[in-house]
Amino acid sequence: VALPWQTIWVSKERRSYVSFERTFENDVSIVLAGEAGQGIQTIETILARILKRAGLYVFGTKEYMSRVRGGTNSTEIRVASRPVTAFVDRIDLCVPLDDKALPYLERRLSEKTLIVGEQQALKSSREILDVPFTKIATEIGNAIFANTVAAGFLAGLFNVDAAIILEVITRIFSRKGDEVLEKNRQAAQRGIDLAREACAKYAINVDIRKNPVVVGQVMMSGHDAVALGAAAGGCNFVASYPMSPSTGVLTLLAQHAAELGIVVEQAEDEIAAMNMGLGSWYAGGRAMVTTSGGGFALMVEGLSLAGCIESPMVIHLAQRPGPATGLPTRTEQGDLELALHAGHGEFPRIIFAPGTLQDAFICTAKAFYLADKYQVPVFILTDQFLLDSYYNISEFPECPKEIEHFIIKTTSDYKRYARAQNGISPRGIPGFGEGIVCVDSDEHDEGGYITEDNKVRTAMVNKRLKKISDLGEDAMDLELYRGKDFKKLVIGWGSTFHTILEALHRRGKSDEEAFLFLTQVYPLPDLLIDYLRKAKKVVCIENNATGQLAKLIRRETGFEVHRKILKYSGLPFTVEELVQNI
């Protein structure tokens, strides 16, 4: 059967545009920092949209505390003349919103950093380009407009046309009524004027070439990419329980439930969510759960049920640092082994760990296809860093026009677990056809009825384990970047993708060093071992403490990576530290 939408899975060229040669002028990193609820997010949203609209490449990511007000959070926005997609340590333009922000960012500030803010509030001895955002806002009528003043100011520094800035401001605030809109336009204009003034006065020169192709590009976050990927995979049922950093996906789908045709339900707990998901697939739905490690821990029994009844299931597992509650709003790649082994008893599963936003979209959509086709649970393993990052995407994958289903119309002699060469019995659903559809968490015979026959048992185990022994065309390929004649091979999976790639580019040893990226973490691609053997030195980079992928690779191939670069502080790798450590 031809899958019109399969074309979107292919093409490794989609990342070839990523090139990191640049001068300081072409790549500026802005960091906003302040208390939760103080307005970082408002400034960020306005600013990022303006910059993209102006034709600048934008990447944003944030790190924040598990609290609603107070504390200290920060957001990085990288602005460049070429695609930027990775987190850097360096701060070019620092915008502290309170007096705790500068001490907090201390380590990341250099002599080149330009600090912009309200001198008085900052109580710092550093040189600060004093811009009285709040004072101006109050003049306009309310301190609340300070965020717009700031956004206007920052956009002004980047030489964005006032018209563009006001266009975006209008788009954002038009729903809020004429007065609010008008005030915000004023605020933005005041910010722009201040910026022009400052640039002139202090000879501040931000020189980044603008590129008209950026203007019409998609700019979205990992949350958006996963949620839209689910929709594109034909998802029509989501049951979940809120948990950072997985909630964004639930929220986006809830917001569009009616138009997308999705039953969205906040379950009483994660156990219910998982079991609801299985019920939905049983009835013919295409269900997903979105959760984090602790919530997924509660779904482990349900996962085993999926294994036993051979139900498709899609699990978005948004990782955060554990164990237990850990660091709710931070990032880590600590749950690969859990995803791999969750569930009592033995049954197959597929695990994807997208590294880019395109991949997040594609993997999630594809997860539904594979879950349905192979009747197995499929994981999308993301993490806070991937989900909370956004950037503009040169070629956003096309949404499939059609979806291939693997549900059959049953005949009256239908048996849910009929013997099948490849282990995959045709899947019927109640009410579609003449047959009855019986699924059982006990070991069962072909008809789905309880059995204790040990021959049937053995056959059923074999059948289940066989299902993904050949994914064939459906497998996600390994991706090799840079020199084919590498000596050093760097391996990565999931959200570290862009950071590793940029670090390797910066190191510049393109002939000696290559990057092998795994989107499909399990089953491990067959070709993997050939690459590993070819390298003189294999370095595995993981955002966890024990090197879970490295362990998996050794288990499956016997190959022990030569070095692991691990980080488990709750923060993602920065390009700089990888440049240094690889």
């Binding site: 590009q217 009616a258 299985l278 019920g279 939905s280 049983y282 009835a283």
Partner: protein, 286 residues
């Protein structure tokens, strides 16, 4: 009992001879036949336990899931395909013990499903430990000196949660049980029927005889619309009332879901449309 379309030929029933579950099985088959239920549109959902084996002995679609987890799939099946009739049936340990949280929140949802609980006041399949409904003092291999926990009162809790249909029957009072369960199935919204079911093997206290002596039928003077009265009846312990304690109308879960508000077509009957997704993607270009 005559033959019904729900009879399953040649199945080996794993219950002990004389177990109250046989009576429930027969009642269910008869009721479904009498209601002319369409077997193609009928799904049983159960958990694990002796009671939970019931769908194995009926000719019907079933989802025999995990211990304690019958209700979440039942809710989801109904929401995914509202054309199906969904019966979630399992034991007291399953529904009120392991599955207690789903019991609470499923009632709050009020999906249009029927929840039948075989209440033998014991864990049958695992050989006789106390269940949430075991009476105080009930001795078991684990509760050696007798149960010390207050028995779980499913009716009172359901009424406290404003369930839209709350009833109790005794399998030994066959006609009454049939009548009530029929009404439960016909009720629109969540309907709970707690069925007293003697376990001959592990509950030597709450026998057929005991239930006959310790129960009585609610009469016409009971107004099932009155929540406080219903609660009062549900908390009687001297003799345990049987019948419909509480019944009222309210919109079902499925009807109120945003996805079904404008368009009643089940999500599985809708064909995939890329436009709304493309429109959303387009918004991210702004």
């Amino acid at each position: 009992m005559g033959k019904t379309v729900f009879d399953l030929e040649g199945c080996d029933i794993a219950w002990c001879p004389g177990c109250g579950n046989y009576g429930i099985l027969n009642i269910m088959k008869e009721i479904l036949a009498e209601l002319s239920a369409d077997p193609q549109k009928l799904v049983f959902v159960s958990g694990i336990g002796q009671a939970a084996k019931i769908p194995q002995y009926l000719k019907c679609h079933y989802f025999n899931g995990l211990h304690g987890r019958a209700l979440p799939p039942a809710v989801a099946i109904k929401a995914t395909n509202p054309e199906l009739t969904v019966i979630a049936e399992s034991g007291d340990g399953d529904m009120y013990g392991e599955g207690g949280n789903h019991f609470l929140h499923t009632i709050r949802r009020n999906p249009d499903i029927t929840n039948i609980v075989h209440n033998n006041m014991v864990y049958g399949l695992t050989k006789g430990q106390a269940s949430p409904t075991s009476e105080k003092g009930f001795k078991t291999p684990v509760q050696v000196e007798g149960v010390i926990l207050e028995p779980f009162n499913p009716l009172a809790v359901a009424i406290a949660l404003d369930a839209s249909f709350v009833a109790r029957v005794f399998v030994g009072f066959r006609d009454h049980a049939k009548e009530v369960i029929k009404k439960a199935i016909l009720h629109k919204g969540y309907a709970l029927v707690d069925i007293f079911q003697p376990c001959l093997t592990f509950n030597k206290i709450n026998t057929y005889q005991w239930f006959r002596e310790h129960t009585y039928l609610l009469d016409a003077s009971h107004d099932p619309k009155n929540r406080t009265r219903a609660f009062e009846k549900a908390t009687e312990t001297e003799k345990l009332p049987l019948g419909i304690f509480y019944e009222h109308d309210k919109p079902a879960f499925e009807e109120q879901l945003p996805v079904y508000k404008q368009d009643r077509t089940s999500v599985i009957k809708r064909s995939f449309r890329s436009e709304p997704i493309e429109i959303l993607i387009k918004k991210f270009k702004e």
